[in-house]
């Protein structure tokens, strides 16, 4: 699904316009709209999942509705739509004391950071918007853009709670990128490539060839990466930047309406991006868990999204189960537990690779 591929296809289909600049623009826009559509559908799906999974955990029914129309749809299917519409039709308030340009910039910045990350995620052998040779590095790098947005949001709101939230999130996300990076380094060591597709092709041939089962160090690396991912997406137990019982709503305290919706959606998109990275790096990416079973290109989308959704589900599950850590405990966990283990992991995997030959 790369741009070149679509461009060639369009050239073949519309010979009279062959070589036209317009086709190139269309070829660029098509994946963009496909992605945008995917994010929208995914957003509705995951918000519905969050509502329903939390309901089952909390022994309540969650959104329920009868029929269609202005009810929330059968089993409340339309609840996320209603929530979205509600947010977009709300009055958009910008506090008079806020730093207006930065206040407006922050939600766009965070959304761009999340959105641009998706283009490097492979959904199949050919279904990837941009198969760059530094894919995994690119996603980690672009993910850091969120920190700037969060600090901007916290600072420009001119609100003490928002400031606390922004500062906490900056400290948290920057810290947890290190253990996440350290556990990805061991993957890169094994696959000897930074390209997402090459990491996946290293793991072909059933689930026991997945990197997570490659050697005894890899489950540890996976757990470190997954917990760091929770911290990077600001999910419980690491939801300190927006901890509602401490900081009111953290960095989004002053945001309302559509701007709030951007922050909200970007958290969920970020969950998907980081789960996809975990899937790619540890769980075989778009490959079937069994060799020669549903391992066709059309099923690859299913496997990729299915595995990523499973990890997203675990994130939701954890969110509704455990309390929240404190700032210093968060830092302790990162710097004194994960980073030493991560470094040891690199050492261990290097020796393992050398000994295995």
């Amino acid at each position: 699904m790369t741009v070149d591929f679509i461009y060639d296809l369009l050239n073949d289909l519309l010979p009279s316009y062959s070589g036209n600049e317009l086709l190139l623009i269309i070829a660029m826009l098509l994946p963009f709209f496909a992605l945008f559509g995917f994010i929208t559908i995914y957003g509705f799906g995951v918000i519905y999942a969050e509502l329903k999974v939390s309901s089952f955990i909390q022994d309540k029914t969650g959104p329920m509705g009868q029929g269609y129309g202005f009810h929330a749809g059968k089993w409340g299917f339309l609840q996320p739509v209603a929530d979205g519409l509600h947010l977009f039709f709300k009055e958009d308030i910008i506090p008079s004391t806020a730093d207006k340009p930065l206040f407006i910039l922050a939600p766009f910045l965070i959304f761009i950071g999340m959105f641009v990350g998706i283009i490097a995620i492979p959904f199949g052998e050919a279904i990837i918007i941009s198969d760059m040779n530094i894919g995994i590095f690119y996603i980690l790098g672009i993910g850091s853009l969120a920190v700037i947005a969060l600090i901007l949001a916290g600072w420009s709101s001119n609100n003490k709670w928002a400031l606390y939230g922004g500062m906490r999130s900056a400290a948290q996300i920057i810290s947890y990128e290190i253990p996440a990076g350290l556990s990805l380094i061991v993957v890169i060591l094994l696959a000897s490539s930074l390209s997402m597709q090459e990491i996946i092709s290293y793991q072909s041939g059933g689930m026991f060839n997945w990197i997570i089962f490659d050697n005894p160090f890899m489950p540890i690396a996976f757990i470190i990466f997954f917990i760091s991912a929770l911290a990077e997406t600001n999910r419980t137990p690491f939801d300190l930047p927006e901890s509602e019982s401490e900081l009111v709503a953290g960095f989004v305290t002053e945001y309302s309406g559509a701007r709030y919706a951007f922050f909200f959606l970007s958290e969920y998109v970020n969950m998907f991006v980081i789960s996809s990275v975990a899937t790619t790096a540890f769980l075989g990416g778009w490959q079937s868990p069994f060799p020669n079973f549903l391992n066709t290109p059309s099923w690859s989308v299913f496997w990729m999204i299915g595995k990523a959704f499973f990890l997203v589900f675990i994130m939701i599950w954890i969110r509704w189960t455990v309390p929240r850590l404190r700032v210093d405990q968060l830092m302790h966990l990162c710097w004194k537990v994960f980073i030493p283990i991560g470094l040891f992991n690199i050492f261990g995997v290097s020796i393992w690779t050398v000994l295995r030959g």
Partner: protein, 373 residues
């Protein structure tokens, strides 16, 4: 911590803040995340109840007591009627006493459920809160069955009760207790022994014995500090001396005696003890007896004053009632347990991180309706 000092910032937690359990304003001085001073400002919910009581008859005071500690209205009723009956020398029959104790202990369970759930919520655990509310709902249903109200009951009257318990109440209550006891274990498992919750609450906000006593802290907060003091045992009122139950005290299982975890855990243990009391009271409840038997025609206590105290879910509730012989109280004063519990917040909360201060506040289980009155 504390070596690098930055500029201090004054932060107002509340009056509209999710963690203040009502409309309380805590003005805190913070250096980064470290809180150096906490000043509670209260009165946002002040409704002049004590002054109002000087203008209404003794019967009409009872709804005011409901609205003070709205999370344990039965216990507030109970304290008032105990004081009034002592002042007027009224002896109520055994059935009334048993029903009162069943109601007060069910109310204690409901109140502690909310407290433990909200403590989890303050620490970021959302699910146990809803579990606790689910079970509290069953207790409110029982109250609704009895007197029609779910929050403000006006159930206990001077010399009796407003209604007798309905047919089937005893069976429904036993049924509830059978359902509820495993749920307490569930609540304890998901909260009390959760590693993160222990890290967040053990050794935090330690309230030593002497501090607790000198501030006049009572109830579960005092018992968590290791002081064995419960009016139901130490100064029995009503018929509490007939029942078998233990007074759980804080033992510092996960940290120091008197930390947040102890304050939280003592409440879970007290829920179990209350279940025991309710079971005994239901089993020994006399079948007959009119709940209106000793109701005075007109409440006109003799000239004099009385101070009576009872154990509410939050601690010693004292009523000082001064009568000048008229049907209207001359002066009514409440000694409310949550007020003293809040006053200790600066002593035990200063020096901790912002997140800890809110955990400490949650563990003290304050109700602003009763603090502001």
């Amino acid at each position: 911590m504390g070596v690098i000092r930055g500029e201090e910032m004054v932060l107002n937690i509340g009056p509209q803040h999710p963690a203040t359990h009502g409309v309380l304003r805590l003005q805190v001085r913070t250096d980064g995340e470290v809180v150096s001073q906490i000043t509670p400002y209260m009165g946002y919910l002040h409704r002049c109840f004590e002054k109002h009581c000087e203008n209404v008859t003794y019967e009409q005071v009872i709804p005011f007591t409901d609205r003070c500690d709205y999370l344990s209205s039965m216990s507030m009723n109970f304290g008032y009627v105990v004081a009034m009956e002592k002042l007027m020398n009224i002896k109520v029959n055994d059935r009334v006493e048993h029903i009162r104790i069943v109601m007060a202990e069910l109310q204690r369970i409901a109140s502690h459920l909310l407290c433990t759930g909200v403590f989890g919520l303050d620490l970021g655990a959302f699910t146990p809160f809803l579990w606790a509310l689910r079970d509290r709902e069953r207790i409110l249903d029982l109250f609704e069955l009895t007197c029609g109200a779910r929050l403000l009951y006006n159930y206990m009257w001077v010399g009796g009760l407003s209604h007798d318990i309905p047919v089937g109440f005893v069976e429904s209550t036993f049924e509830f207790l059978d359902y509820f006891e495993p749920k307490v274990d569930e609540l304890e498992n998901i909260l009390a022994h959760n590693k993160i919750l222990v890290e967040r609450s053990a050794d935090i906000g330690v309230m030593p014995k002497d501090v607790a006593i000198s501030y006049g802290v009572t109830g579960p907060n005092l018992r968590a500090s290791g002081v064995n003091w419960d009016l139901r045992k130490n100064d029995p009122y009503s018929i509490y001396d007939r029942f078998e139950f233990d007074i759980p005290i804080g033992q510092g299982i996960k940290g120091t005696v008197g930390d947040c975890w102890d304050r939280f855990y003592v409440r879970i243990l007290e829920i179990r003890e209350s279940v025991k009391i309710v079971r005994q009271a239901l089993a020994s409840m006399p079948k007959d007896g009119d709940v209106h038997q000793s109701l005075p025609k007109k409440i006109r206590p003799p000239k004099g004053a009385i101070y009576a105290r009872t154990e509410t879910p939050r601690g010693d509730l004292g009523y000082y009632i001064e009568s000048d012989g008229s049907p209207i109280p001359y002066r009514l004063k409440m000694r409310s347990p949550a007020f003293t519990a809040l006053s200790v917040i600066d002593e035990i909360g200063a020096g901790w991180l912002l997140s800890d201060v809110l955990a400490i506040l949650g563990s003290l289980d304050i109700v602003l309706g009763e603090i502001d009155r």
